[in-house]
């Protein structure tokens, strides 16, 4: 299985990566080879293998609903490129949120 240049451009857009034409050529070649490598798995007959939801054979890990101390606002904001002491600041975002 190989990827088209368009597939890579779409993945780039979804990942918000600005890929130049040269980048696209390189990425198409490299990603195709990775997908091809993983594609070897398709040769295995998995008809009688149950789908795996998680590699660990562990289930039902919970914590109790008990509050723990949060960070201070100063600590929370300390690594942000920009903040106003209360909130993170980002370039103006207008319109609808992505999802809920």
């Amino acid at each position: 299985m190989s990827l088209s240049r368009n597939d890579v451009a779409k993945v780039g857009l979804l990942a918000r990566l600005a890929l130049s034409d040269a980048d696209l050529d390189t990425m198409t070649r490299e990603l195709s080879s990775i997908v091809g490598f993983v594609g070897q798995l398709e040769k295995i007959d998995t008809a009688n293998v149950a789908p795996l939801a998680h590699p660990l054979d562990t289930q039902n890990v919970f914590r109790e609903d008990v509050p723990k101390p949060s960070l201070s606002t100063a600590e929370a904001l300390q690594s942000a490129p920009r903040h106003d002491g209360e909130c993170f600041l980002v370039p103006a975002v207008l319109g609808d949120t992505g999802a809920a």
Binding site: F62, R63, P67, L89, V93
Partner: protein, 495 residues
């Protein structure tokens, strides 16, 4: 609840809802940060909900149990095995770059919730496609007036547990959608799943709507589905759907555009303007590249666990209405009104009915006096100054004939206004039971002063005695009108 096209509406409105409710937990879904509403920005955040490298989510047991409770109450099947998935998209209020949600193996599916109109037999069974558990995003705040300013991000809400409830497109009118939402909210509040406070964002509704329009040759034309967002109250939901149905019909008449020929459109409800507006189309936004969340292990739900959850759940409103109507012999309408006011009011009513010994009498007082006062004054039934014991005493004294209902209402109002006890008010208003000797004397005086009434009654017009009651009340406000009437009629017969 019109289901078929009529002259007034030459189409059927087809509606499905997507409801997000915040679960009533103390802490977030994957970390120990508080979920209390209204805190200063970025004070309920930690490395996990900020999405900092090296942090790991751990599932809140209470959140999962509340979600299961909601799904059970909605009649859903609970999956014996469930897992979580990453929904990938970029937005500044989503610090990890993905939302932990559920994709192909939600913990529940295939339920239903019926909406019943208590005044009629009409009802609609609305199928639930699925209920799943996911985390909320943070809050973006943009000062529109400032123009090109920055957007401020508060992540207190990020990671708050949400239950997403998705219905099949089974609703057939905006009114029905609103009624169904009311029933859903009542159910979730009753079961302690969520406070469903829309002002605080604890309940959010998106609606999918299109029209089925009978056209040439018996064919049904279906308009493109539109998703409506930004509705901040159930009333807004109803208004937005009414608007959108009319808009789609107009558009269909102009363009004849049908479903499937254009991508699904998202429109935002502008409440002050009363219109829906097309939102910018997000390119490729539907490509969320879901994949299993490796940081959370799956959950398996045993039959024992389910049984225990069912046990602890309590009655949903639909069952409670029936039980209340049967237990206290009150009409379905009364039971509906009482149950729709919430669990606390039902407890007040049952306490009252128990003490009064007559469900219908207690219900009448609830519907006419308690609820009216509560609506006027606001506040909760638990803070209502006249407790069931005091109200039961008042009702009991009416039954004994100490005073009549209208007098009892005056006492009730005075108890509310003054905060004094029923006894104190009765004493201060000079209300005392009128003994029979007093009553006979009073009635004799009345008859002597009203020969015309006496003549009319003797001539067969018993209703003429009604004219005496006002006069009797003037002479002694404590007399019982029923007794005055009966006594006067007796005396006239003896004349």
């Amino acid at each position: 609840m019109t289901a078929t096209p009529t002259a007034a509406a030459p189409f059927t409105t087809v509606i499905g809802l997507e409801v997000h409710v915040q679960l009533q937990t103390r802490t977030k879904l994957f970390c120990g940060c508080s979920t209390t509403f209204g805190a200063a920005p970025n004070t309920h955040v930690c490395p996990t909900c900020l999405g900092l490298p090296g942090s790991l989510p751990v599932m809140n047991r209470t959140a999962f149990e509340l979600a299961v409770r909601a799904a059970l109450a909605l009649g859903c099947k609970i999956a014996p095995f469930t897992k979580w998935d990453r929904k990938n998209y970029f937005y500044p209020d989503l610090p990890k770059g993905y939302q932990i949600s559920q994709f192909d193996l939600p913990f529940s599916s295939a339920g239903a919730l019926e909406v019943v109109d208590p005044k009629g037999a009409l009802s609609r069974n609305v199928r639930i496609t699925r209920v799943h558990l996911e985390e909320d995003a943070g809050k973006s705040m943009h000062d529109e007036a400032a123009g090109t300013g920055d957007t401020r991000i508060d992540l207190n809400r990020a990671g708050t547990p949400l239950c997403e409830i998705v219905t099949e497109p089974d609703l057939r009118s905006p009114q029905e959608a609103r009624a169904w939402l009311n029933e859903l909210k009542l159910l979730l509040v009753y079961l302690g799943v969520s406070d469903c406070n829309m002002q605080e964002g604890s309940l959010r509704v998106d609606a999918n709507v299109n029209l089925h329009i009978p056209s040439d040759g018996g064919r049904i034309a279906k308009t493109p589905i539109v998703e409506i967002k930004n509705m901040n109250s159930f009333r807004s939901v109803e208004r937005a759907l009414v608007y959108e149905a009319a808009r789609q019909y107009e558009e269909w008449q102009a363009t004849k555009a049908e479903m499937g020929k254009t991508p699904k459109q998202t429109r935002g409800w502008d409440d002050p303007a009363g219109v829906t507006r097309a939102q910018r189309h997000k390119e490729e936004s539907s490509d969320y590249r879901y994949f299993p969340e490796p940081d959370l292990v799956p959950v398996t739900v045993s039959e024992e666990w389910l049984a225990a959850t069912r046990e602890a759940m309590g009655d949903p409103p639909s069952v409670l209405r029936e039980k209340l109507a049967a237990r206290w012999k009150i009409p379905a309408y009364d039971a509906d009104v009482l149950v729709n006011q919430g669990r606390e009011l039902v407890a007040y009513f049952e306490d009252l009915a128990e003490r009064v010994g007559e469900g219908k009498v207690a219900s009448n007082w609830m519907q006419q006096d308690v609820l009216r006062t509560l609506n006027e004054r606001g506040g909760s039934i638990d803070a209502f100054p006249v407790r069931p014991a005091a109200l039961a005493e008042l009702i009991g004294r009416v039954a004994k004939g100490d005073f009549d209902t209208s007098r009892a209402r005056e006492i009730f109002a005075e108890v509310l206004a003054s905060g004094r006890t029923v006894d104190e008010v009765v004493a201060s208003m000079g209300i005392a039971a009128v003994d029979d000797d007093e009553l006979i004397t009073l009635c004799r005086e009345l008859l002597a002063a009203n020969p015309r009434v006496v003549a009319d009654v003797k001539g067969g017009k018993e209703q003429a005695a009604a004219g005496l009651i006002g006069q009797a009340k003037k002479k002694n406000p404590n007399v019982n009108p029923g007794k005055v009437r009966a006594m006067c009629l007796d005396l006239i017969r003896q004349m």
